[in-house]
Subunit: 796 residues, 2 copies
């Protein structure tokens, strides 16, 4: 089985990738010069040259040039095409099978591993053409080589127009996270690009530019030519410069290693981590991230053996198993999102929002409103994260209820929610949640509301079960098993069977009791389908639907005196219903909105995390026009007085717009067909109607989920939906945030493994007794299979 390709970083092997600002700028000449100079260093280390893809006749190839002019350098060409055109065209014309990007990178790594095994040395990897010249598969090289994260020597263009070529090539590399360490180019006395570029790169990027005299013009006679080139390479000025460049590269290599190896200790001293008991955190527990790509971090942790071998890879690939705190959708360092962010930064920077409008904010608002397909929602309020967005939502909802029911500003209002519900860490968001481990020690926390107990869904010992705890069972009955998760989500059928009646009766009974205690409520706020921070609980959707229905049908339970009828079908009734979709929305559970599982249209919804595809903070709170209208008055202090400086920052809006459109395109294109086909669409599920809207599926295979659930000695239950897999482990000491039950499993996943692509592991997170693994929306089938294997190893 293939494993992810780790970055090419060793202590003893200095690997550099030579990119050209254009074709024919002297990449091979400079590489030969560097390789010769490396051979000549007093340390007498091994020097290697790799040309992954070469086009044009083999005897003119760069490999040949190196062999001829840099004796003693180990050299290899991986893919040679005779036709002197761009690799993608050459590969196509060759009639040979085109190597995939993954295969090509794996082959590069194999060669580097061979070099590293020989001990201290240098490896120069020379690309073909310019930075964006397409590789054999058609991916451009700047995109294709990202995962190797090799620092770059950029060969600049000394010809007319070369200043532009060199700067643009640099930018294409830089915005993909490449570290360009040196710019080298030939001197040209007419254009003097080297003079301009030396100043430019020093001033703007702190990168040294080194220039050498141009090589002799190509002679007609091959022997003459060879002689002239040999003389050129032997020039003292060329050699001196090359040696200086090597010294610089060697220094940068050392600095990079030192940076990686010192960071955890620095962080341990100066960083105050969120949600982390730092008295239990040793420097060695801190994972250093050198880069990330797709689903994988490149991580460093202190070597477990006493002293790391010089030829041990420094970095490993770590699967980002919590989707970076549930935010990740389109993969780390996705060039599409980078370009979206950079475009908006370049077009606007940030522009203030009150009374202003810009295209990214407007288009994102429309895309969200359209995507929700909720006729109630008509307004978009932007803020910075889920916590601020739920505070905004509750400010909206409470005001609407207070004014309709005629309560004074001194009236204490609570929210209705679910036990274990969680909406963020600002005080107002905390106050929406019942007292729990997250908030009970917070000085200003004061839970404001009532939180219902509820039945959950788990696959237990192979059976999909609506699970009811003892206390609740007297009201809503015992556990009930279903043939499939789809059957549990087939709300219509269940309602036809009358399963919702006991839920509704129970909810009504509680509301009546609350009214009798004279408590007042101003909104319902729930996380539809899954309570994330509350312990990855999958809630019986029928219960959430029943809660909304009862509230909407019972205005008299919230105000006995006055409860005007809703003005129209889009108006709220009973209480404003707020869906906190921060975690479960925008394809986390496989759909644009999880409210579609419930067949419920909330009056207010909150969206963050996946909203930006996993790049940066942004939140949108959507609301109905009726809620919005409540804040209208001739008095400006009646407005919704909430706002952050960077409200609707264009960078965030453009990234979110790009992310949503991309995820919608993935859905339309059927990119997730492989996942849907993993047993989730079996014909015996009553729920599987022909409409895509009714489909329920997961990135994790159904039989695997059911099989895990049969490991009943350790596993209490499992569920999976969309990209989330949650394994509830048995914990005799009691569940909850303080539980340590899942840590063993987490540690088993985190154990470093040797793969064909280098060392790798899986970094999952635990919530008390629950271990969850969360894929991104762009996770590949291959990665899911690997993790499935690891979990089977660990649990079965």
């Amino acid at each position: 089985m293939k494993s992810p390709v780790a970055s090419l970083l060793w202590r003893s092997l200095r690997v550099y990738q030579v990119f050209g600002a254009n074709t024919d700028v002297g990449k091979t000449v400079f590489t030969a010069l560097l390789a010769r100079a490396a051979k000549d260093l007093p340390s007498k280390e091994a020097v290697s040259f790799l040309k992954p893809v070469s086009t044009g006749p083999a005897d003119e190839a760069d490999d040949y040039h190196i062999r001829r002019f840099a004796a003693g350098v180990a050299h290899r060409t991986l893919f040679q095409y005779d036709i002197p055109v761009s690799p993608h065209a050459a590969a196509l014309a060759s009639g040979k099978e085109t190597p995939s990007d993954e295969y090509l990178l794996a082959k590069c790594r194999d060669f580097a591993v061979e070099c590293a095994a020989r001990g201290s040395g240098w490896l120069f990897l020379e690309t073909a053409g310019g930075v964006h010249s397409p590789g054999p598969s058609g991916s451009t090289q700047a995109d294709m080589y990202i995962p190797l994260r090799i620092p770059v020597v950029l060969i600049g263009d000394s010809r007319l127009g070369g200043i532009s070529q060199t700067i643009s090539a640099f930018e294409s590399l830089h915005i993909r996270g490449y570290h360009v360490q040196s710019v080298l180019l030939f001197q040209d006395s007419q254009y003097e690009n080297h003079v301009f570029l030396a100043d430019y790169f020093n001033k703007h990027h702190g990168i040294p530019v080194v220039s050498i005299p141009a090589p002799p013009e190509r002679a007609k006679d091959a022997d003459q030519d060879a002689e002239a080139m040999a003389a050129y390479y032997a020039r003292r000025d060329c050699q001196t410069r090359a040696t200086q460049v090597l010294e610089h590269l060697d220094r940068r290599h050392g600095e990079h290693l030192a940076s990686i190896e010192s960071m955890a200790a620095e962080a341990h001293k100066h960083i105050w981590y969120p949600f982390t008991q730092q008295s239990l955190l040793k420097p060695g527990d801190i994972t250093t991230i050198d880069s990330a790509h797709g689903d994988y971090f490149q991580t460093w942790t202190p070597p477990t053996t006493k002293a790391a071998q010089a030829n041990t890879p420094v970095l490993k690939s770590s699967f980002d198993g919590s989707a970076s705190w549930w935010s990740q959708g389109l993969g780390h360092s996705n060039p599409k999102l980078t370009l979206a962010a950079a475009y908006a930064a370049g077009r606007y920077g940030h522009v203030m929002f009150p009374g202003y409008i810009h295209r990214p904010a407007m288009d994102l608002a429309s895309t969200l409103l359209d995507g929700m397909r909720n006729p109630r929602l008509n307004r978009v309020f932007y803020s910075d994260n889920g916590s601020t967005g739920t505070e905004v939502a509750v400010k909206m909802g409470l005001r609407a209820a207070r004014l309709r029911y005629g309560w004074g500003t001194d009236q204490k209002l609570g929210v209705l929610g679910l036990r274990g519900g969680y909406h963020g860490d600002t005080i107002g968001a905390m106050d929406m949640a019942e007292p729990c481990a997250f908030n009970e020690k917070i000085e200003w926390y004061e839970g404001k509301g009532y939180w219902f107990d509820y039945p959950t869904v788990l696959c237990k010992d192979g059976r999909w079960t609506v699970t009811v705890n003892d206390e609740l069972s007297k009201d809503i009955g015992e556990d009930r098993a279903y043939r499939s998760l789809g059957d549990i989500f087939d709300i219509e059928t269940r309602e036809q069977r009358g399963e919702h009646h006991r839920y509704e009766e129970y909810i009504s009974k509680v509301l009546v009791a609350l009214q009798q205690r004279n408590l007042k409520f101003g909104s319902v706020i729930i996380e539809p389908i899954v309570l994330g921070a509350g312990g990855m609980e999958l809630v019986d959707p029928l219960f959430q639907r029943a809660l909304v229905n009862v509230v909407r049908q019972s205005p008299h339970l919230f105000s006995s005196t006055t409860h005007p009828a809703p003005r129209d079908a889009r108006d709220w009734s009973g209480l404003p219903i707020i869906f906190d979709e921060v975690f479960t929305g925008l394809y986390r559970l496989g759909r644009f909105t999880p409210s579609s599982f419930l067949g419920v249209c909330p009056d207010i919804s909150v969206h963050a995390k996946l909203l930006t595809g996993g790049l940066l903070p942004l939140c949108a709170t959507l609301a109905s026009e009726h809620i919005f209208d409540v804040f209208g008055s001739p008095d400006k202090t009646d407005a919704l007085l909430h706002g952050h400086s960077y409200t609707a920052h264009p960078v965030g809006c453009q990234v979110a717009l790009t992310s949503l459109r991309e995820m919608q395109a993935m859905e339309r294109r059927g990119d997730w067909q492989w996942a849907r086909a993993q047993g989730w669409q079996s014909s015996d599920d009553a729920s599987q109607s022909s409409s895509a809207d009714n489909e329920l599926w997961s990135w994790w295979p159904r039989d695997f989920v059911e099989m895990l659930s049969r490991q009943t000695e350790r596993v209490a239950g499992v569920w999976s939906l969309g990209s989330v897999l949650a394994i509830h482990l048995r914990d005799d000491a009691g569940a909850g945030y303080s539980s340590n039950a899942a840590q063993g499993l987490r540690d088993a996943l985190a154990r470093e493994r040797e793969g064909a692509g280098g060392p790798w592991n899986v970094q999952a997170r635990v919530l008390g007794n629950v271990l969850y693994v969360m894929a991104s929306q762009s996770t590949k089938e291959e990665s899911i299979r690997q993790i499935v294997e690891l979990l089977q190893e660990a649990l079965v």
Copy 2:
């Protein structure tokens, strides 16, 4: 006086900028083709050609080519250099005066204005060389032309390597916010770049690629050459494609106009604005922002005359007079910040933070801790905005006080602050402020604390005055005038004179009274020097210093039973002191930290807004090690349980790091010397010591500030410090957030003016009876002078 150059956008004149992916790719040929085709359109509109800079012999120049092959096209070359090298080198070699970027852009605009005056038509502006080829001044063209915001036709490179050149050139334009509308290139049957690029640009960017046959090879004989080219231009396929391109460009032009003109109405329907009473907001009140650069937005508001003239510029330059809600530091669409954001996005995307570390977060933490020069601060906690960051700060402070003083979790704790202090809009942040217009209608708001009245600083009728309101005067005495603002900030001298005694006595008296009422406090939180949202009040620094000193000297006033001595000089005493530097920090007032004005080292400080130079949200809360230690225990629920998904997002950290380093470099380089020299360093100020740390200065000239203050009929007082100018207007109806007194002045600034660079205005904000204008840290002297003139016009 020069005025900012507005974007070149007219309804009737379609302006396109032709950029080349490289030199010699056929820019002029394509431009000639497009110009000819435009002449041939049935509409018979005027077609113009502008070559801002041309190098090489005039008779070979592009202008000449257009004249020859596109008869009837108005053409002009602005700067002609005979030497066929890059413009910057040619300009230097010519011995002529090098035109500045501003001058060159103004000239471009002048030509476009002439074209627009002729009515409906087309204007093609052809650049020189590649996208990053330097202009005469040495700025690269991609940077230089940004303010004109002309949509682009990019001429691709059809030669070997041309795929890479074309994509990289596109990216350099795209990340600067250019709209590339078409990619055109020659067909080449060997390389077929047009085939690859058509697919690439369609798939990744939705941009059409159009290719035409290559022109004939250059003939030796000039007449032959001309004949061959004429035949080429006459080819039907070339003409057809050119016409298709024009149709596309015309459509895009129309869409752009429609987008601009429809956005306010769309926003009016669907956007919920922060801090805006929308029932008073008409679509025409919403400003549409098409782009921004430096200190200027390019804005659209509905034309005031009935029907806009077709040749009226669509956009105007609007000075961002609130620094985009106090966030702006390094100018909108600053390429340096764009590249920083894109680099981090490309290197990491977002990576989760708890237990992880990455370079941008680590280096930003070190830079902040070093920059503060406060030996107490040792820890950095990241969050997303000022509001979340102050909540974090107060969570830290309250816990420290509660544990030291042995209070239970049920103990109600308040904060000590200043009246009108404001820390953000989440409920916890609101609770730190006394009841006021911003929060009194918020359902969950509950002010927790005591807020001191305080003396303010204003220049009144030319005299710098510490102003005391009636109520306070009985305790701390009457108004007192000083020779200069510097004298007021010369705290040492004032303390030598004993001016602080009455402050300290007053503060002690209040604290004793609070203790007698049995109120408990857990932190002091103040905005050092200026209370922003509270009405742009400049606080007497001596008072803030006295408050901190009294609190630190009086642990017994906070806990009568037990108050252990501080463990060392870095430990807090009395109460943890929190400085909310979100608004006033990081050079807003001219210094890295405003705490240096007070000579006070807070125990906790909060930083946002300018932190990222004005690009996107990020916040850092800094704390002492003693505060941090309080959260250490074997129990993980004792940790600081706060965190957001995008905590320490690498994009934000990298942008912040780049911003801080840039602002520090500006300070070191003396970039603000012109501002410092505006009367703030006059020799008669006792405060002006030789140390830069003691300097006090403003972007706004001192004599101007003092002169404004003498307009006593309308002006109650003025102050200015750093980039802030605050004009307190008289308002007989009473001051405060609901006041409308300053709106007339705001409207006067917002009135559109015709400048040499097109229409422009100043968009300032008001806070009740205060009008403020806030420059960015990169605002040019020229812009300040223009605004000074406008204010003089309006007020004097």
